[in-house]
Symmetry: C2
Amino acid sequence: MLAEIITIGDEILIGQVIDTNSAFLADELNKIGIRVGQITSIRDDRDCIINALNEASQRAGLVVITGGLGPTSDDITKQTLTEYFNAKLVLNAAVLEHIKSLLTARGVEVNDRNVSQAELPDQCRLLHNASGTAQGMWFEKNNTVFISLPGVPYEMKAIMTDYALPMIKVAFRLPPIQHYTILTHGLAESAMAVKIASWEQHLPPQVKLAYLPSPGILRLRLSAFNPVDNNGNALLAKEILKLESLIPEYIFGYNDDTLEAVTGNLLRQKKCHLSVAESCTGGKIASMITGVPGCSDYFLGSVTSYSNESKCKLLGVDPESIRIHGAVSQAVAEEMARGVRERFSAEISMAVTGIAGPAGGTSEKPVGTTWIAVSTADSTRAEKFNFGEHRGRNIHKAAIAALFMLRSELIRMA
Amino acid sequence: MLAEIITIGDEILIGQVIDTNSAFLADELNKIGIRVGQITSIRDDRDCIINALNEASQRAGLVVITGGLGPTSDDITKQTLTEYFNAKLVLNAAVLEHIKSLLTARGVEVNDRNVSQAELPDQCRLLHNASGTAQGMWFEKNNTVFISLPGVPYEMKAIMTDYALPMIKVAFRLPPIQHYTILTHGLAESAMAVKIASWEQHLPPQVKLAYLPSPGILRLRLSAFNPVDNNGNALLAKEILKLESLIPEYIFGYNDDTLEAVTGNLLRQKKCHLSVAESCTGGKIASMITGVPGCSDYFLGSVTSYSNESKCKLLGVDPESIRIHGAVSQAVAEEMARGVRERFSAEISMAVTGIAGPAGGTSEKPVGTTWIAVSTADSTRAEKFNFGEHRGRNIHKAAIAALFMLRSELIRMA
């Protein structure tokens, strides 16, 4: 099964908006076994839309279209689809009620344009948009299915997940497919491939492996395609057990886990409270940790000590340590970690001090030099890293490395 | 002049990577007066590439291609272009030297695959990639220009900016075009349109206005197209003066300014040092401020006080204030701001306390309720906001609002 995605909207073609919808759609379609052959972005223009629909339907059995369903005059997707499918617009009373109740709840008066959003082509099946006024639509023509979705990401995602994907599975009688993703850290893609080569070669023919690398993290996605007796999950479980025994020290999570959430759960399990001292990461680590709902169970807080004075005054770093070793040093990282642990009465803490750049580097301590320390009542350990030359990437890499050091320490604890 | 963009790479079509390159390219092309008619993402597949090149060149005078130029066997863009243009690959000695010196500096041994990256089609003009091994290429065929660039964003951007864009301007004899962007805050797109309607109606015919909205910030881009006597900048300056007198209180920056950098420059000008106390924003504000190179000139640091105890112990908040008014209250916001200003010996400070969600809301203080305070030696002011229900968006909106409150206070200062 081959699909194509068409995104409609001038804002993409003038570079004002990055098209994130297509990546979501492509990922979801791949997960149910549908390959995406092409993604096409076009303007809000009748001829362009019709041309794109014609071209895509010649190549694909499924065409997913996003955008151009808003209430303003530049949004012409619905009119163009109505023409393309020789349909006519009919007012849907249930949709009108839904739109009215949505807008009333927001304190917005219902106008003619909103009413016209309740008119749908008589050839389509409705895909309900629970949180918006633009409805999804499902068309069929010459053995191709066309799905039209609004461009607002969270509305598009909800319609896709709740209605379109289940209907696609039925319509195309897709064979069952299961996925399981293992999150690893510590081996690059090529090194991991060597390490697990024998296991990979002996995978059953229905099980496929994909390497999904991102900075500091390598995800391994196992998929079971159309297994005999529908035993895909059992097949995957067996292979994952083997993989876990092969690379236990590199695995830190599964499926939709994030590093922040996994580390947070470890803190919760160990009944440990965390505090953080940040210099070069400037609040990034605290921001990542507090992005996880419920983090107040284990996160007490942090100090961003951007000046030497604040390192001494708020964290109790000895001014002599800074004078002798410099602010980016093992001694200062350790004193920051100890200081922030004591001040927040935390069981565990971490501290980061480094040179994010672009200025501040020396030949001895070039931009990217970073010390990270983790401290408990029993011990304080520090490690030196050299991340590189780019400020934004240095901050990101230091935050990831600090979270992995924290995780190691938590695992080591009794 | 119409252009199309083709991005090549399986990683986009499986949804592993979001295509950010196309937005950059579309923005840059629009800025020099070239309209982008279509963006097409295809797999690393010979037939797909040739088909996409044929289709795009029938519609556009310029085709910009990214991706598929890496050293591994799945990257086939260069071979396919060589075939498409009836060219043959020839080793370029200068490029080989460049690749060798790059890899040697990284401590990587040069292998056959790297050497083959120095082979270029004899029909193309070289677009030098200063920071990578995959070179850019410029082809011409039947009055269409084809530009092939690597998919690594920072390499692609550098080649585009340094070589491709200047060459495009010459090759297509593009009429001069100038842009000037005004950054505003405080009016939504529709309200701004009403406010500046009369000014907009009287713009000279060569000057066009575009509204570019994003959360909390509305950018107004003025462009002068092909003005008489090449006086575009003068034309724009005249109109911007009028606009500035119309909406002075809403303008906070120009062109590539960011809110963080603009506020940072104000702090520098006023010789003020800043400290920040964060609760619900959890480090996000500090992280935004420290994303600006050179921020150590004015940023001393921050405390993320996620627990009530840390609000009292590290910031000196009175436990009675929390008991009587709750942690999310005017009193606590003001005490946090005063406390963090004094502890860092800062001239100015801000504090944020709110309910980011999803849990923690009450009927009196629903999720999204946020108090923001700004404090100086002379005064401490606080304001209440209601941002909404989504944790991530609440954190982002609170950070933006806090920076705007800080900016207002700095402007008010003598």
